[in-house]
């Protein structure tokens, strides 16, 4: 049964999580909090993104990125984590793939931390608490899905 034909869509807008070819953008979620990883996952999947993998610390994040590469489109990166923090993990990922799209997600909004992340190549910095709209806007922007800056 082809549901698309059976149920005409009222909302013509394509979900932001889909590439022009209709396949979902694949995201790696790096966060040591079970709650935050779940929250980010729910926000992303609700808009059609696919959570390709999750990692609970920076070291695991870097390893998973290398495993998934090049079949990975975006990384959300927490900062305060055990074993390896998110800033160090960001450096490792950028060294491995200079075109990596990493978005920092942290409760800390300290200016020097934001500046450092952006200088190291992070594409955006989201301060928690997470708001669905804010997260989706910033991520779509990083993936070049919207023209609104």
């Amino acid at each position: 049964m082809k549901t698309k034909q059976d149920f005409p869509s009222i909302n013509e807008r394509e979900p932001d999580g889909l590439k022009p070819d209709g396949t979902p953008f694949r995201v790696l979620v790096v966060d040591d909090s079970m709650f935050v990883a779940k929250q980010i996952g729910q926000i992303l999947t609700s808009e059609g993104y696919e959570v390709a993998a999750t990692a609970a610390d920076g070291q695991e994040g870097v390893e998973k990125y290398k495993e998934l590469f090049p079949n990975i489109d975006l990384v959300t990166m927490d900062i305060t984590m055990p074993k390896m923090d998110g800033i160090t993990a960001l450096e490792h990922i950028m060294n491995f793939d200079k075109n990596a799209k990493v978005v920092m997600i942290s409760a800390l909004g300290k200016q020097d931390l934001v500046k450092k992340s952006l200088l190291l190549g992070a594409k955006n910095y989201i301060v928690k608490p997470l708001d669905r709209k804010k997260v989706l806007e910033r991520i779509a922007q990083v993936l070049g899905k919207t023209s609104t800056a």
């Binding site: 909090s33 079970m34 709650f35 935050v36 779940k38 729910q42 909004g109 300290k110 608490p129």
Partner: protein, 154 residues
């Protein structure tokens, strides 16, 4: 303890709770405790060390913790399981981080410990030589006490 240390925590708690619970929060009267005091049942504690030192505690009953965690997850949680605990820990983390960002901008430099979560009945907390300021926050999920004991490093 100087009031300027507690204000960022109260403001941050107010803002974060309002946002994650998506409701109005009522701030209760601030009070001071210098001796041992009872803990309500679930307490998330974050330590601070640097220009100032001490700890911040977010204290609530188990019932309130469950209600808060359920709201934040958008689903009814029936026990204080790993997810519920991770949720309360993250709440403490968000409030503390926002307050620290503010204090950092005011020129105070210090580090935070990851939040530790204590659960149990009949617990007490004693702060040796540091008085604690407590600000109760009334939410529809129940009362959350912001308990701050900080001093300037000698």
């Amino acid at each position: 303890m100087r009031v300027e240390y507690i204000n960022p925590f109260v403001e941050a708690a107010f803002n974060v709770l309002k946002e994650v619970l998506n409701t109005d929060i009522k701030r209760g009267e601030l009070y001071l405790k210098s001796t041992t005091m009872p803990v309500l049942g679930v307490a998330a504690l974050v330590g601070l060390a640097g220009d100032v030192e001490g700890r911040v505690m977010f204290d609530m009953t188990k019932q309130t913790a469950l209600a808060v965690a359920s709201t934040m997850n958008g689903e009814q949680l029936s026990s204080l399981d790993e997810l519920a605990k991770a949720t309360i820990t993250e709440l403490a983390n968000m409030i503390t981080a926002q307050a620290v960002t503010k204090l950092h901008d005011l020129g105070f430099r210090f580090d935070l410990t990851p939040p530790a979560l204590f659960t149990g009945d009949n617990m007490e907390v004693s702060d040796h030589e540091v008085e604690a300021l407590i600000v109760p926050m009334e939410t529809p999920q129940g009362k959350i006490e912001i308990n701050v004991a900080i001093r300037e490093r000698a």
